[in-house]
């Protein structure tokens, strides 16, 4: 039972209650002037007297204030809300039963919920309880009631991932026994709860007619209720009612892996794993990282308990979960692929794994073609590149450069080498065919310039790979001048992202006084300028050919044309270029991510390809090809591989469970949501306005009575005073 005001703004008139108070105070203001012989004494206490003002006829004033207050309250249309008894199930003759079969419903049910569902098994899940209760409710319906069945997950899915609701009965039917059996066989899923879709399906089943919607759900998750508000409003607007049957899990303690983030480094990579604890107790959990080559790494992580709500107004909502993160070092020789992290916990088992992409770590082999050995180390590109690629030796750095002369190109092995560097090679013609195939197959090619470069030879031999045709080398300044500096790079480009934290300023210290010049960029190979000089001349250019990339440095990597090799940015820049070309750019398969129940759309290299999708269990997953894209809906988490029969994978898809399903804690209730939409479903209202007006009328009469008595006593007092005055002056006594 509670109380509300239909016209709360009318309460602003409650200031009128001050009227009687002011009137009674004003009535004490003197209206006559009278001589007083002891003013000397009175003035001594006048300061205190000004602060005090007694109210005349306080009872009358209280009556009048109450009268005003009652009338203001009556004007505000106060309404008393009383709880309304729920109607019998099936009374409307049309019933839709929604069973939540999302992943969170696989949690163990509490003892009470299991008993209610007549499933005494201690291992009963929320879903099994919901199925039992739904079937029981359907069987107990009065005869003649038409019933339908809808699940919140397992539907066709969509790219947005919110059409998982599935209508199990095409229309309402009076075959209640059959529908009950269907309810008992609803399968569990790894998918998210699509309550919105389920309500929409229910509305479709009811076909706009009033009916009842019985919802068996754990009502867990931060977004479940808020997202379904609009559909709830539509359903209630059609005259239907929603009857929630909330199921409570044994406990809300659950751990899940929120994210994995891989970062490349010179000595391999690092994997940052973030774990959430939704439970109220601090726990220690074991994390296991399983790499694509089968190796495992384990760690323990201490997880704090979930916090209290941060804001006082959210006391009825759960607080933020406890968070912890663990770093794993990935060895440099690991092959790329889909890896997984596993957290062991006693809560929901379905979300214990998280799958993620692990790029090929490092470029294990770099073929360095030395075009100009140089008379001294400062004139040798190899000297500087060798030290930049493997500062601590090849094995420890993960990069092992194979140094050859231009004549030794036959040693290029696409299975071993990921990157080829042509360092000031004068004649690329003999290498052209191998390099072309190497790049198109996914290899990386880096060309650095120097005095040996002949533009015509490069244009003719490697013209199909270059981002722009070579023009000529040109001095930028005089021989003894400092040279032109390099512009700060765009840190949004992956090559330069490590320089984002105050590192770009170091590029201004790099100077060149001679550079190769180029024709305009060739747009058919996605050419672009990655680095430019202060005068606008391009320094580092990139093109994408086939699956590979080609980088051209317009300067030298020795001290012949500039000072790049002796600047601080040289080693990290070379490392980044080689790591990127060798790992990311070198993989043939594309990487994708998705969640269970979400329809994934994978772009295909060619429109005519018809690849298949292999699921985590090795079985083929149903898929379709439309408009050069492959569409499929994963139902379980894991690694999904898109491939053509007998060839390397086209795409690798890491599929994980929806994150909101891991949070088993309730964020409000369906009943509260329904009450917020239409409070009259749960409450009956009593208008208090007329009763207040009657009470005000009684008070009006009462105050009139008290006022007349007060007036009589006042008149008597004044009469006595006038008689006394007359007697003193000898005038006739007034009647």
């Amino acid at each position: 039972m509670n109380f509300s005001l239909l016209s709360g703004s009318s309460l602003a008139m409650s200031l009128l209650v001050l009227g009687p108070l002011l009137a009674h105070l004003a009535s004490r203001r003197p209206v006559q002037r009278r001589a007083f012989g002891a003013m000397m004494l009175l003035r001594r206490v006048s300061r205190k007297l000004r602060r005090r003002r007694r109210i005349r006829d306080p009872v009358l004033m209280i009556l009048r204030m109450a009268l005003v207050l009652l009338m203001v309250l009556a004007a505000a249309h106060p309404v008393l809300h009383l709880p309304r008894q729920p109607a019998e199930l099936g009374s409307s003759g049309r019933l839709v039963v929604i069973v939540d079969n999302s992943m969170s419903m696989s949690a163990p049910a509490s003892a009470g919920a299991a008993a209610t569902g007549q499933t005494q098994d201690q291992s009963a899940t929320l879903l099994s309880t919901a199925r039992s209760q739904a079937a029981e409710s359907i069987r107990r319906l009065p005869s003649g009631v038409q019933v339908g069945l809808v699940t919140t997950a397992g539907g066709p899915g969509s790219p947005s991932g919110n059409t998982g609701a599935l209508r199990l009965t095409p229309t309402l039917t009076d075959a209640t026994k059959r529908v009950a059996r269907m309810a008992e066989s609803i399968p569990p899923t790894f998918e998210a709860t699509d309550l919105t879709g389920a309500l929409r399906q229910s509305r479709a089943l009811l076909a706009g007619e009033p009916g009842e919607v019985l919802v068996f759900s754990d009502e867990a998750g931060p977004t479940l209720l808020s997202s379904s508000l609009e559909e709830m409003e539509r359903l209630l607007a059609s005259g239907s009612t929603v009857i929630p049957r909330k199921l409570t899990a044994q406990n809300n303690d659950n751990l899940c892996i929120a994210s994995t983030q891989y970062a490349e480094g010179i000595e391999g990579g690092s994997l940052k794993v973030q774990v959430l604890n939704f439970g109220s107790r601090q726990v220690e959990a074991t994390l296991s990282v399983r790499l694509p080559d089968g190796r495992e790494m384990n760690a323990f992580v201490d997880l704090p308990a979930a916090q209290e709500p941060a804001h006082p107004s959210e006391t009825d909502l759960p607080g933020p979960p406890g968070r912890a993160q663990e770093l794993f070092t990935i060895p440099p020789e690991v092959q790329g692929g889909i890896a997984s992290v596993h957290v062991l916990d006693s809560g929901l088992q379905q979300d214990d794994y998280r799958y993620f992409h692990l790029p090929r770590v490092g470029a294990s082999r770099v073929l360095l073609v030395e075009g100009d050995p140089g008379a001294s180390p400062t004139r040798s590109e190899t000297y500087f590149l060798e030290r930049a690629l493997a500062p601590w030796g090849g094995k420890r750095s993960g990069v092992t450069p194979d140094i050859i002369g231009p004549a030794g190109m036959e040693s290029l092995d696409p299975r071993r080498h990921r990157v080829v560097i042509l360092a000031n090679v004068s004649e690329p013609g003999p290498l052209a065919a191998d390099l072309n195939a190497f790049v198109r197959a996914g290899g990386g090619l880096v060309i650095t310039c120097g005095d040996n470069i002949l533009p015509q030879r490069y244009n003719s031999a490697l013209g199909s790979l270059l981002p722009a045709m070579f023009r000529e080398s040109r001095n930028l300044v005089g021989r003894n001048a400092l040279g032109v500096s390099v512009q700060p790079p765009d840190t949004g480009v992956p090559f330069f992202s490590p320089f984002g934290k105050k590192g770009t300023g170091s590029f201004a210290l790099v100077h060149f006084y001679r550079l190769m010049t180029f024709e305009p960029l060739l747009r058919d190979r996605d050419s672009r300028i990655l680095l430019a000089m202060e005068n606008g001349m391009p320094l580092l250019l990139e093109s994408r050919v086939g699956r590979g990339r080609v980088l051209v440095l317009a300067g030298t990597v020795d001290l012949a044309w500039g000072n790049l090799p002796v600047q601080a940015v040289f080693v990290p820049l070379v490392q980044r270029i080689i790591a990127f070309l060798g790992a990311q750019g070198g993989e043939s398969a594309s990487f994708h991510s998705g969640t269970t129940g979400q329809t994934l759309s994978i772009p295909l290299p060619h429109r005519r390809l018809s690849p298949s999708v292999q699921g985590p269990d090795g079985n083929t997953v149903p898929s379709t090809v439309s408009g050069g894209r492959l569409l499929f809906t994963p139902r379980t988490p894991g690694a999904f591989i898109v491939h053509l029969p007998g060839s390397s994978p086209l795409a690798m898809v890491a599929v994980n469970t929806p994150a909101p399903e891991s949070d088993l804690r309730p964020y409000g209730s369906l009943k509260e949501l329904e009450a917020s939409v239409d409070p009259t479903l749960f409450q009956s209202q009593v208008e208090l306005g007329p009763w207040l007006l009657i009470t005000a009328l009684v008070l009006l009469l009462l105050q009139a009575l008290v006022a007349s008595k007060a007036a009589d006593s006042g008149n008597g007092r004044r009469h006595a005073q006038s008689v006394s005055t007359a007697a003193a002056h000898g005038t006739p006594i007034p009647e």
Partner: protein
């Protein structure tokens, strides 16, 4: 040419009647006991020198010894009494005193502080007249009085003069008690008894030093404090803009709210007045306006009263 308004004349008659009634009720027949000459008491002889009055020559001594000697007697004390009447504006209030009555003219004899004070003054003057003692009158403040100062004299005609002044004076202005007492002391020039009839509504430090009993001819000051109980208890309940007839700003007042603090102030003030008067060697007598004048006169002439002769000399 002196003119009398009828109200003043009627007042003289009233005052005289009032005085006779009051005195008669207190010491009936006292005036008959006053015999001229009987109060003279022989002291010694002195030789006659030319110019001495022959009335006191002792003829028997001259007959026996042929010497001219004069009989000398103890001198009569004959201490003059001076009635000092406060006729300031504040005295117009009290009882049924209202703004209207204050502005209309003389307050009624019955109820107002002024009426009570002039009735008391007339009674004392009459009493002293019957005793054959000189009595004078000085008016503090006031207006339309025939004379503001009547020096002490004896006799019926003098009594009539005093009554005329009492009947004609209207309360007005301020009393300036302290200044007037100092000035009166210089006018009297010899010892006298000063009877101050006032509501004492002036700050104590302005007049208390003036009543000190000192000097070659000490002036004995007796203070009769005229009090209106209604005024000092703030008995009126209706809010009003109160003002002092002596001037100053109005004070809007709710008596119900002011009463407790005001009464505490009045109690303190009364105690302070009484203490200060006695500390200066003067005498203090409280005279509420609802106390009958004959009763008050009886207190005055009783053992420790102001008018007891023994206490005067």
């Amino acid at each position: 040419m002196i003119t009398w308004d009828p109200q003043a004349l009627a007042r003289i008659r009233h005052l005289l009647l009032y005085a006779r009634q009051s005195v008669g009720g207190v010491e009936q027949g006292t005036h008959r006991s006053i015999a001229r000459g009987t109060s003279l008491e022989f002291v010694d002889y002195k030789p006659y020198v030319p110019g001495d009055p022959t009335r006191n020559l002792d003829w028997k001594v001259w007959a026996r010894s042929d010497r001219w000697v004069l009989r000398r007697f103890k001198a009569e004390s004959n201490l003059p009494s001076m009635l000092v009447l406060d006729a300031s504006g504040d005295m117009a209030t009290g009882g049924t005193g209202t703004a209207g009555s204050v502005e209309a003219g003389r307050p009624p004899l019955n109820g107002s502080k002024h009426g009570y004070a002039i009735c008391l003054a007339a009674t004392i003057a009459y009493y002293l007249y019957l005793r054959g003692e000189p009595v004078g009158l000085r008016i503090l403040g006031g207006r339309e009085a025939r004379w503001n100062h009547v020096p002490p004299r004896k006799g019926r005609e003098h009594l009539g003069r005093i009554l005329a002044v009492l009947a004609s004076v209207q309360p007005w202005g301020q009393a300036h008690i302290g200044q007037n007492l100092n000035h009166l002391r210089s006018l009297l020039g010899r010892g006298a008894l000063v009877l101050l009839l006032s509501d004492l509504m002036e700050e104590l430090d302005t007049w208390i030093p003036s009543i000190r009993h000192s000097g070659a001819y000490p002036t004995d000051v007796r203070v009769v404090h005229i009090q209106d109980r209604g005024e000092l208890s703030l008995s009126n309940t209706d809010p009003a803009n109160l003002f002092s007839p002596e001037g100053g700003t109005d004070l809007p007042l709710d008596p119900l709210a002011a009463r407790p603090a005001y009464r505490r102030e009045v109690e303190g003030w009364l105690a302070q007045v009484q203490f200060s008067v006695v500390q200066q060697g003067a005498r203090y007598l409280s005279a509420p306006t609802d106390l009958s004048i004959s009763h008050l006169l009886a207190r005055l002439v009783s053992g420790a009263s102001v008018l007891n002769r023994e206490t005067w000399s």
